[in-house]
Amino acid sequence: MIRDITIGQYYPAKSILHRLDPRVKLVSTLLYLISLFLFRSISGYLVATLFLVCIIRMSKVPLSYIVKGLKPIIMLLLITVLFNLFLTRDGDVLAHFWIFTITEGGLVTAVFMAVRLIYLIIGSSLMTFTTTPGELTDGLEDLLKPLNRIKVPVHEVAMMMSIALRFIPILLEETDKIMKAQIARGADLESGNMIQRAKSMIPILVPLFVSAFRRANDLALAMEARCYHGGEGRTKMKPLRYHTRDFVTYVVVVVYVIAVFVIGRYVPLHIWIF
């Protein structure tokens, strides 16, 4: 069911990661994502794995919860692995049948791509697990502040994001309800070809859009009633302030990136199992 999706959901806990400044987490996540593309050797993966394990332990988010977040990307993962497996022609041929050829290079690339993708997802979901959507948008708003000068409405965009985040679970639940209601009226959502299936989505999408607009209208009224008038003259309940732990984190992350780059490049560790 739709409600089982955990990716992007905040996981309440009291960990050092939860307490970090959202700006630190945003920048660090970005650096971490870039770092995953800086190496191509086992030694690099070892460093990255070590780092990720430490972060997971520190976050106090249960591993099973993190793994569950990977469920929605299984298809994507499979496709990536298959493409790399069959389309990369490099090194010894390991197997060959009909039009498919698996080479050593292909296998290595496939495995590495899969690992990279999984690390990428885990890394970024750790950020959303440990940061409330409110903090996240605050962080983004602050980081993107320079764009204000070139007339980008940063506050408005951040506000829109945080509202979107708040309403995603509500709209998911609503989708579930509308689907059930239409199935109860005999709607067939599963059989038929692509066009028929797309057509059978209309009874779900129309009510969903109507409801989304109704909610948007209600929410706009509620915000105005509470004196919302844009970012001007607005104070913050939780203003962002850097603490020592945030500077330490920056240092640790930069050290990690350098380490992964150097070790991944210059410490060759080719232990092939095959």
């Binding site: 905040y10 309440p12 409330t132 959507p133 409110g134 945080s162 509202i163 985040l165 708040r166 679970p169 509500i170 109704r214 909610r215 209600d218 929410l219 009224l221 509620a222 915000m223 105005e224 009633a225 509470r226 004196c227 919302y228 008038h229 003259g233 607005r234 104070t235 913050k236 309940m237 939780k238 203003p239």
Partner: protein, 283 residues
């Protein structure tokens, strides 16, 4: 000075055809005069489409009158320079608990109003804590609103308004989407606020059980105020209320029925204790 005063309030919606051209107007509110004193608990009753919600939206300048005037704490709601003052003075709680919570964490939502008012950070925290305490939701401050029950969500919405320190709270059918225990929760909260903070409460509803403690009731129909008085005065007119698509509590119906059968029972009985007492005394 009255906290809320309206004079010949009229509001017209523009009717549009399919191309969006105005084809005519329809009056949602038609000449309403209401005075509400500071600290009162006033209820506005009416069936769906009677104009009661449109009226409520005038009290914090979400809508402005087509004709006539609304004063909130002496400020004309039509005056653009008073807009934020009016909205801060008369806070508003809406029907749908989901569609009025902006924050993704309870305390952040309660802080939203004070943030907009430009209240200094330290004071926001103080206000948030106080308001959450006032509605009995302090222990949920770090929760996501999505995980709360309907009644709890409405209490958070009330706290969000209380944190703006209004003189008057307008509740527009706050219980219509709640189950009975959620309804009780919300009403109890409102009652407590009234006694603790002396705020004026204006409750828009079509549940009669909720208004028996009101100081004054207005009944609306077709944009007019058709009845006004104390709960006892209003509830003694069972048949008139039914004409306006409304209802009275079961005990009032029973008392009315017994009176029709010839028993000597006073009109406008609101609580079961009153009926029991009347029956035991008179017979």
């Amino acid at each position: 000075m009255d906290i809320i005063q309206t004079e010949h309030l009229v509001y017209e919606y523009a009717k549009r055809d399919e191309e969006g051209n105005i084809t005519g107007t329809s009056r949602a509110i038609d000449g309403v005069d209401i005075d509400i004193r500071q600290g009162q608990f006033v209820a506005v009753l009416g069936h769906n489409g009677s104009g009661k919600s449109t009226f409520a939206k005038h009290l914090n300048a979400i809508l402005v009158p087509t004709a006539g005037t609304v004063w909130v704490d002496g400020k004309d709601t039509k005056a653009p320079e008073e807009l934020w003052n009016v909205r801060q003075t008369a806070g508003m709680v809406f029907q749908n608990p989901d569609n009025q919570i902006i924050g993704t964490v309870v305390e952040e939502d309660v802080g939203f109003g004070p943030e907009n008012l430009g209240v200094p950070t330290d004071e926001i925290w103080q206000r948030v804590e106080e308001s959450l305490k006032a509605v009995g939701m302090l222990e949920y401050r770090h929760h996501s609103p999505n995980k709360l029950s309907g009644g709890q969500k409405q209490r958070v919405a009330i706290a969000g308004v209380v944190a703006m320190e209004p003189k008057c709270i307008v509740l527009d059918e706050p219980t219509a989407m709640l189950d009975p225990s959620g309804r009780k929760e919300v009403l109890k909260t409102v009652q407590e606020l009234r006694t603790k903070k002396q705020v004026t409460v204006i409750l828009i509803t079509h549940y009669m059980e909720e208004v028996i403690d009101a100081d004054k009731i207005y009944v609306m129909d077709h944009g007019h105020v058709v009845m006004e008085g104390t709960p006892r005065e209003i509830f003694s007119q069972v048949d008139t209320l039914k004409k306006y698509r409304l209802d009275v509590p079961q005990v009032t119906i029973l008392a009315d029925e017994l009176r029709k059968r010839g028993l000597d029972i006073p009109a406008g009985i609101l609580r079961k204790e009153e009926l029991v007492e009347a029956l035991c005394r008179s017979n």
